[in-house]
């Protein structure tokens, strides 16, 4: 196991170089440098002298050939010396440190909700295979699966938050949910712990709904398929022949094996934590990783973009590895030494 992990870890290194290199080259196409970035940003309208521009370009090593720039970038990423963002000179580590917990909060809560609902739904559907209820459940889940999250989020805001359609009078403002942010801007610091918790929950309800239904739909479909495939196996027939109760057959025998694909999917959802948050955070105006990433791309603020892409790429690689390891843990038939790491 350890040897396997070691080998996989070393294989990650060239991949990491590849991901950062592609991103670096794409951003090179923009010809963006801190001078144009700050011209577009806060300092717009100010005339910057030629010497100042040259000085800045030298400071960021933009006057060196691109392989040198790239290697400097990698060195900074590896040593976690992330630098500052061009837009306002704030340390990138600080920007990410602020944004990441919000994204993690949103995605972990929605993932837990999706798993908690998907597993029983899948079992229920598989147990009543072919019945009317199963058909309806399957169809509804299928439609949820095709439902664009940017539409759902927008509809939730239009109908529940805008105040045109529903209003909760006790809130003292139009609409039942906030329009943006993950907490109230006014008086948040003065609230008690419980008040803060309630406020955050109220703010993240709609984003969580938007984030979780898609995962719920695909997870429960996997769960149903997994159950059906296992219920067809010989060992289930054996278990039934032994006279075990249906309950025991389902929950003790079939469920255990049907959980395998679902568990391994957990690792693969890791990279979607940030990718999926881009749209939801944009709709609900939540300043998480996706929001910061999009802002950085718009400017463009390229140390920040590269950092985020590298980070997400790393998460993807870890996620793939994690899902392989989880697979080996939950399924004793899999031997990692034999698995090719290609």
């Amino acid at each position: 196991m350890l040897r396997y992990l070691f080998r996989r870890f070393f294989l990650m290194i060239p991949t990491f170089f590849g991901v950062t290199l592609i991103c670096f080259l794409v951003l090179k196409l923009t010809n963006a440098d801190p001078v144009t970035a700050s011209n577009a940003g806060a300092m717009s309208g100010h005339q910057i002298s030629r010497e100042a521009i040259e000085h800045l370009r030298h400071f960021y090593a933009l006057d060196r050939p691109w392989p040198v720039q790239y290697l400097r970038l990698v060195r900074r990423l590896v040593t976690l010396d992330l630098g500052t963002r061009w837009q306002d000179g704030r340390p990138i580590s600080e920007v990410i440190g602020e944004a990441l917990p919000i994204t993690l909060l949103l995605s972990s809560v929605s993932l837990v909700i999706a798993y908690v609902l998907a597993i029983p739904l899948g079992i229920f559907s598989a147990a009543r295979r072919g019945s009317r209820r199963d058909t309806v459940t399957t169809l509804v889940l299928f439609m949820l699966y095709s439902l664009p999250s940017f539409w759902v989020g927008t509809m939730l805001i239009v109908y529940l938050s805008s105040g045109r359609f529903v209003t909760c009078p006790w809130l003292g403002r139009p609409g039942c949910f906030p329009l943006q942010g993950w907490h109230s801007f006014e008086g948040f610091d003065q609230r008690t712990i419980l008040g803060k918790l309630g406020d955050v929950l109220w703010h993240i309800t709609l984003p969580i709904v938007t984030l979780s239904y898609g995962a719920l739909a695909s997870l429960s479909r996997y769960m149903r398929m997994g159950m059906l495939e296992n219920l067809r196996q010989d060992y289930i027939r054996t278990a039934r022949a032994k006279g075990l109760s249906e309950r025991r057959v389902y929950y003790h025998h079939a469920l255990r094996n049907a959980l395998i694909p679902i568990v391994t999917l957990l690792g693969l959802t890791l990279p979607t934590l940030i990718g999926g948050s881009v749209i939801v955070e944009q709709i609900f105006g939540i300043r998480g990783m996706g929001f910061v990433a999009l802002e950085a791309i718009r400017l463009p603020d390229y140390p920040l973009v590269i950092t985020i892409v590298a980070f997400t790429g790393l998460l993807t690689m870890i996620g793939v590895l994690l899902s392989d390891v989880l697979y080996a843990i939950v399924d004793p038939r899999i031997r990692l030494q034999g698995v090719s790491a290609k």
Partner: protein, 340 residues
């Protein structure tokens, strides 16, 4: 047509057999009808919604299909203005939706659905229904073209890796893993904001970019299938007969490896339409002077009370994506022996 009933299952071509199997279920048939309607709408969008008439007799002149030709004599007129200037002998045959996708009706800015604009207007007074009808073009073109690109790249690289193996396989699989590890949506947004394309080049740019990022699944599928198929007896037989490598690949290996790709491509088509919507929704996709469903939804972000800008384009994306997914599902059930 009478002969059709006499054709037995075995006599049917494999393509038509597959077709019958995929569209056995009523729900898949509904999906097929939806898609056919969608394609028809995309093809004849100019006839359904246009700022100029289909046929016009105006100031003693005949104008045939001015909605397509836009003759210079009518340049200043849209349907609305034309109706006001029609003489006693003049007449016009208007399209079903008498608004162009880029025609600004400044008397109806951000108006809710009514008799004049059946699905309302956006913040610049453009007819939502007209933009919806024309937007189907962008969605379908992006879907079909990007899938063509990704299947081409994926099949080529997957075949090379699977058939030739060795160092080439290792190298290609490394590249695959790199591309797979790049966060798709961030890369798409970055590339599109760099290219900042206009007009139809935006559509092309988007399809190429989606294709360049998404070929990994197809490549992996093809590689796996080829590894499986190339050791089968009939391939050995072909090789023993002296068939060239290319003949073996194109004539024997690829056709047998194609069915999982067909399924994957159908699902990818749905995803590409979804991603086009998402990118346009975020404001990085199709420029505003072209009609796209995601672009319409994007307007809701600054006008959150305009429900008609949210409901209709979103529903259009949803219906199209669901239809493609249903067809993909039907294909998978028909082709995958495990679910039979």
């Amino acid at each position: 047509m009478t002969a059709k009933t006499l054709v037995t299952d075995a006599e049917r071509s494999s393509a038509s057999k597959l077709f019958h199997q995929v569209f056995k279920q009523p729900i898949q048939r509904v999906a097929l009808v939806v898609l056919l309607v969608m394609v028809t709408v995309a093809l004849i969008a100019d006839m359904l919604a246009s700022s100029q008439p289909l046929l016009l007799f105006f100031h003693h002149h005949w104008y045939v299909l001015p909605n397509l030709i836009h003759p210079s004599g009518l340049r200043i007129y849209d349907n609305d203005l034309l109706m006001k200037h029609l003489g006693v002998d003049d007449w016009a045959l208007l399209p079903l939706v008498p608004w162009g996708y880029n025609g600004h009706d400044l008397t109806h800015v951000l108006s809710a659905p009514d008799a004049v604009h059946w699905l309302g207007t956006d913040s610049s007074g453009r007819d939502v229904l007209a933009r919806l009808l024309h937007g189907s073009r962008v969605s379908l073109i992006v879907g079909v073209l990007s899938v063509t690109v990704l299947v081409t790249i994926g099949t080529t690289l997957g075949t090379l890796a699977g058939y030739f193996g060795g160092a080439l396989d290792v190298l290609l699989m490394r590249i695959l893993e790199i591309v797979h590890s790049i966060p798709t949506i961030l890369l798409l947004v970055t590339l599109l904001s760099v290219l900042a394309p206009e007009g139809y080049s935006a559509v092309i740019a988007m399809t190429v970019v989606i294709g360049l990022v998404w070929w990994t699944d197809v490549a992996r599928l093809i590689r796996g299938e080829i590894l499986r198929v190339k050791e089968l007896d009939f391939v050995h037989a072909a090789r023993a007969q002296g068939a060239s490598t290319w003949r073996i690949i194109f004539g024997h290996v690829l056709p047998n490896a194609s069915s999982p790709v067909l399924v994957s491509a159908t699902f990818a088509l749905a995803s590409a339409i979804l991603v086009e919507g998402a990118l346009s929704f975020l404001g990085f996709g199709i420029p505003d002077d072209m009609a796209s469903w995601g672009g319409l939804l994007n307007e809701v972000r600054s006008n959150i009370e305009a429900w008609w800008l949210a409901v209709f384009p979103g529903a259009a994306i949803f219906v199209t994506v669901t239809a493609f997914n249903l067809v993909g599902e039907g294909l998978r059930d028909a082709l995958d022996p495990r679910t039979r």
